[in-house]
């Protein structure tokens, strides 16, 4: 954190940087002028001028190689700022052919930044990569491997695969490590092409160099995610490695903020979480080392807490163990009580995992959770809603859904709005234990239906129609069974919802002639419709009505608007025409006239 503050201060003071090397004054001037540009437009002008100048100069014959290197760096810079410098790509490719490491390295950097693995120019690079993978100079091999990770795709894998596999046994650990990562990348691009080589990953797990071993954990994690059973035999090995790491038996170079190789610990914990999940025997091997790590973790540093969090994730995903669950609950508690927002966030997430195993654990943290819900930090709020969603039971569904709706109405992010709306509906649907509950519940609160009305009014277009339709059927069925005692206002509210979705699927329902449709139709009472006509006419003027809602309104008005003689047909039609004009783009709405 300190270094970051230093950087911040330096930025504020605009102080001199240390040791920039080798670039010409022109580059220095360019960067300076970009920095001093007062608007994006000015910045764009400067860069476009630069690009034009480079376009001319790069095409000149016999450009000295060092100067070409600088041109290419400047083109990388231009593209980083969002402009196109594709005329320079071919020169970058040519630079990778150069024998000198300095130029080759720049060439490789440029092509990995410029090109994606399906670019036409890749063919010209594959040969170079092949050649460089066989170089005597291990640094050149490394540069080629790094480039291969980005530029080699499914088609070109066969061209380099044998060489990369050979490099897994290279004397230099940096090369072995990069070869592992390259092989992993190839596996991600095309699992089939690498599937016969998977045993190599197992071998590298036992590599002498901790860096190579650590790198191997990446592909192993992916492999285990895809097929957990084939790797159960490695549980004991992973546990043993984790134990050694936790006991500080790796070189000090892997220490980070007083923790022993924490990044490696985290990777191992993720792997063990997968292997122990649902498997009592495998989990049995893991318990001891987990307990040790819980005890040894430095909870005063960020990285210590990151490891602790990963432990909690592991504990909650493997076969349950009471002592470890207690330790996890205790750590979660500390997170929630912390001042740091980051830790509170992790605490909420951890709580969400623990309640799957033991729902009661949420009880004692209710206050902390509510604090997070009220926090102005949006990230924390969203996370807490996710937790609430997991915590919903029939006893608290109304409170939770209520909160969720309030929040949903207040946010602007449509993607997220849809999510919350769908969740509200799912919860109400899920926790309606019986039709009896539904009716009684709503009679006393008039909650659910009003609520659902609100949800659909605000997010009707976005809510997944299918989810909502199931809800509608639930409501409709409820009516079928017990309509005599139902409150009439209740039925009309319910009916709003029914119509809302009934119309989006009208033909379908009639086509099927389900008894629900018949019951719905039977339940239509003119009075109810007339009431609705009035309120719908009122609402019609409101801007931004979701089109589903509008469809319903139009149908009702069309069918029953003139039923009691209060409004003339022309009045109704006039109103509807106003709507058509306002909603020209929506053909479905028009159909309902």
């Amino acid at each position: 954190m300190e270094q970051l503050k230093t950087i911040g201060r330096e930025l504020a003071m605009g102080s001199q940087g240390g040791g920039w090397t080798g670039q010409s004054k022109e580059f220095l001037d360019l960067v300076k002028s970009i920095g001093e540009a007062r608007s994006k437009a000015e910045e764009d002008r400067i860069i476009l001028r630069e690009i034009e100048s480079l376009r001319r100069r790069i095409a000149e014959p016999d450009v000295p190689r060092r100067r070409m290197k600088e041109y290419i760096i400047r083109l990388v810079y231009a593209e980083m700022l969002g402009h196109d410098a594709s005329f320079g790509y071919i020169h970058a490719v040519k630079m990778t052919h150069d024998d000198s490491l300095s130029l080759k390295r720049t060439g490789y950097l440029a092509v990995t930044l410029f090109l994606s693995d399906d670019h036409d120019l890749i063919i010209l690079i594959v040969n170079t990569i092949q050649k460089d993978l066989r170089s005597d100079n291990y640094l050149i091999v490394c540069a080629a491997l790094t480039a291969a990770c980005k530029l080699i795709n499914e088609e070109t894998i066969p061209a380099v695969l044998p060489q990369v596999v050979d490099l897994l046994a290279h004397p230099k650990e940096a090369v072995r490590k990069k070869a592992v990562m390259a092989l992993h990348r190839f596996y991600q691009r095309s699992p089939a092409s690498v599937s016969h080589l998977i045993s190599n990953f197992r071998k590298r797990l036992c590599d002498n160099d901790p860096g190579v071993m650590g790198a191997t954990l990446c592909p192993l994690f992916d492999l285990i995610t895809a097929d957990v059973n084939s790797y159960k035999d490695l549980v004991i090995s992973f546990v043993s490695i984790l134990k050694q790491v936790a006991e500080r038996r790796l070189p000090k170079a892997y220490d980070y903020h007083q923790m022993a190789a924490p990044f490696i610990q985290i990777k191992l914990l993720k792997i063990l979480a997968l292997l122990g999940s649902g498997d009592k025997q495998a989990s049995g091997h893991i318990y001891n080392v987990l307990g040790d790590i819980f005890r040894k973790c430095e909870s005063s540093s960020n990285i210590g807490n990151a490891v602790l969090y990963e432990c909690i994730c592991c504990v909650s995903s493997i076969y349950p163990n009471a002592k470890l669950l207690d330790a996890a609950a205790e750590s979660t508690s500390k997170f929630l009580k912390s001042e740091s927002h980051n830790l509170k966030y992790l605490g909420i997430d951890a709580l969400g995992r623990l309640i799957k195993i033991n729902p009661d654990v949420a009880e004692e943290h209710q206050l902390a959770v509510i604090d997070c819900l009220e926090d102005p930090d949006d990230t924390l709020k969203r996370k807490t809603f996710e937790l609430l969603y997991k915590m919903t039971k029939s006893t608290n569904v109304e409170v939770i859904v209520d909160r969720m709706i309030d929040y949903m109405i207040s946010i602007n992010d449509n993607h997220y709005k849809t999510e919350i709306a769908s969740r509200c509906v799912e919860l109400a649907e899920q926790f309606a234990p019986s039709n009896q509950w539904f009716i009684q519940f709503s009679v006393s609160n008039n909650f659910t239906f009003q609520t659902m009305n609100k949800v659909f009014e605000h997010a009707g277009d976005l809510v997944n129609v299918r989810v909502a339709h199931n809800l509608m059927r639930l409501i409709a069925e409820g009516f079928g069974e017990d309509d005599e005692g139902a409150d009439s206002q209740l039925r009309s509210s319910a009916f709003n919802i029914e119509l809302l979705f009934l119309h989006s699927e009208l033909e379908f329902i009639y086509g099927n002639s389900t008894h629900i449709a018949a019951k719905i139709l039977n339940n239509i009472l003119c009075n109810k419709f007339l009431k609705m006509v009035n309120s719908y006419l009122r609402i019609l003027g409101e801007p931004k009505l979701p089109s589903l809602f509008l469809q319903v309104i139009c149908w009702v008005l069309g069918e029953y608007g003139t039923a009691d003689g209060k409004y003339s047909a022309s009045y109704i039609i006039g109103k509807l025409c106003d709507v058509t004009e306002a909603h020209l783009c929506n053909d479905t709405v028009k159909v309902y006239f």
């Binding site: 980083m80 990285i303 990151a306 992790l346 997220y416």
Partner: protein, 184 residues
């Protein structure tokens, strides 16, 4: 309940399958962006496929989202179904929702500490004028969107080796051209 949508499960099933296939090509880290307090781009590295136009949009959206957040809030934001972890001077890393956010925050610090050691108390100007070197260092820490090396010493050693070979190459060129110019 009458099933009006008998094919719903099938639809859901196939969506799940295609989602899984896509995920085999994704990275653990989707991209790394470094922006200044004014929203100027200092470094961008993309580990998942993003077209040039998408990249500009991403940068614009994230700048708007992150630069306006107060100092005491979480260092994580949700964005389009992903999570973005950021640290001040605005190193931003985009990950999937299920990943360990605090670990990524520490990866950012790990990167900064290595930059610090390399440049000797790094400041923003170092990164501006030597952005290509920052890329070399980043390529030693992260590769294909995964953490490649967690030992600062190893990274420093490798970069130093590369630099010294580069320097030697430069010297050789220098001395050769000297010889030539003297011979003339």
């Amino acid at each position: 309940m009458v099933r009006l949508y008998p094919n719903r499960c099938q639809l859901v099933g196939s969506a799940f399958i295609s989602g899984f296939l896509i995920s085999l090509v994704r990275s653990f880290i989707h991209f790394v962006i470094l922006i200044s307090r004014q929203g100027k781009v200092r470094l961008t590295k993309w580990y998942s496929p993003y077209q040039q136009k998408e990249r500009s949009t991403v940068i614009r959206e994230l700048s708007g989202l992150i630069l306006t957040r107060g100092p005491k809030l979480c260092n994580f934001v949700e964005w389009k179904g992903f999570k973005v972890v950021y640290a001040s001077l605005y190193f931003c890393i985009c990950i999937d929702p299920d990943d360990n956010e605090l670990e990524i925050l520490e990866i950012i610090h790990h990167f900064v500490e290595i930059l610090d050691r390399y440049f000797g108390s790094v400041c923003e100007l170092d990164l501006i004028f030597n952005f290509h070197k920052a890329y070399y260092i980043l390529d030693e820490i992260l590769i294909a969107g995964e953490l490649q090396e967690s030992s600062k010493k190893t990274v420093a050693r490798l970069i130093a080796a590369q630099d010294s070979l580069v320097e030697t190459a430069k010297e050789e060129t220098g001395s050769i051209s000297n010889m030539i110019s003297q011979a003339m």
